[in-house]
Homo-oligomer: 230 residues x 2
Amino acid sequence: MSGVDRSVLAGLKPFAGWAAADLDALLAPAHARRFDKGAAPFEQGAPADSFFLLLDGHVQASKLTPDGRQIIVRYIGPGELFGIAAQIRETTYPATAKAVVESLTLVWPSSIWPELAAKFPALSSGLLQAFGARLADANARVIEMATEPVERRLARALLKLAAQSGRPVEGGVEIDFPLTRQELGEMIGATLFSVSRLLKAWETEGLIAGGRARIVVRRSDRLSAIAEGE
Amino acid sequence: MSGVDRSVLAGLKPFAGWAAADLDALLAPAHARRFDKGAAPFEQGAPADSFFLLLDGHVQASKLTPDGRQIIVRYIGPGELFGIAAQIRETTYPATAKAVVESLTLVWPSSIWPELAAKFPALSSGLLQAFGARLADANARVIEMATEPVERRLARALLKLAAQSGRPVEGGVEIDFPLTRQELGEMIGATLFSVSRLLKAWETEGLIAGGRARIVVRRSDRLSAIAEGE
DNA sequence: CGGTCTGTTGAGTACGGTCAACAACTGTGG
DNA sequence: CCACAGTTGTTGACCGTACTCAACAGACCG
């Protein structure tokens, strides 16, 4: 047994409406695992022996280029599966996952995927959906990188992060995990210097606020305007 | 009946080893359709009522950005399924397909996909594989765009095209369909001017050759060196 | 209280985009 | 067959965005 109660799953969108017995069956082969801030559930290139469901916290998925530069693929929030890319074709993880805050996950052995997928068709169709969404997202990013200036990409990234992982605070929405200029740069393909200049300008204009590795989106309307094209 | 013999499928990699009866069953609901050079099997945003298998020719998949710029997602070669992204989540085509040379396709109504997928598990697992490959490719492109200069991206694009759609000629490999500087630019996120300058330089150095909309890769070794980093 | 991490700011530079002009080739219709 | 229009490719001048590098200032942590 996993020591995890089915109630932790029942609250997550992907499992809404599942029967209790099914949730139990899904949970049986899983175990819970906690990761400290900075710890890595898996590294790019390592054998993909497990897949994960994030229960609480935030996990960063990044890739290393051949010449040692890092780019951030996405941030994973509670309720999302990760480490599943491997189930589809590869035997090693295509990216590195790192907990950016203390995070709680469920872990299944990869070998059990076919059995689970057969028992719960909703799982594999959900996987397809997720892949479709990621493919669309990746294509959108290619287009952005090719056609849009850094300023727009940055505004867009902030809005996306606020929408996905935002926590309402007075006067805006705070991005719910520490996020440095360096990391923002690695998300949008820019240097930390360019990011720093833009954020500073926006802060003095009142569009955003924040402290060390903390960002609050204050005026998402004006950021949207920048993201679209002034 | 489709008027297409099962022998046209038997020669394509995805169908190697299929039983004759299965091929016939797969072919039954399909019909053949020819597209002139320049004709579009489908347009971005249109209802996705069909999916396609390219038998012969070359098809370009492109997307239009909100502000009217075009970017080329990929080139499709014989034996590849296309127009299937819709089967996964969307009801409209996410991109436009255009025949860049006269092309021959098989067409199935989208509505029949679930039935076919159920009857031939190899089809849906092939789809997953294809999606995985495309996702990996899209991610690789994001990384390229973010970290590599135009010169490298162009060299890489030429090598990929030559490998995928190359026809050996004396002294090199010719890309098997007309390809303008404009289109190369739209593939790698650059202007036709930058592409023109680079190709000219490479032509005088003997790395490539070509005429109007024709490109022959002569020295793939040296192009590889450029693609990696001199 | 030093060391590390994060952020700011400035100066210089270059890659690649924009725009304009023209040349060469292709296909079409009179 | 030629004239013409359309497409494709080349080249030059200019310029701006964003990168590189350097120096420094706070914030956080042990």
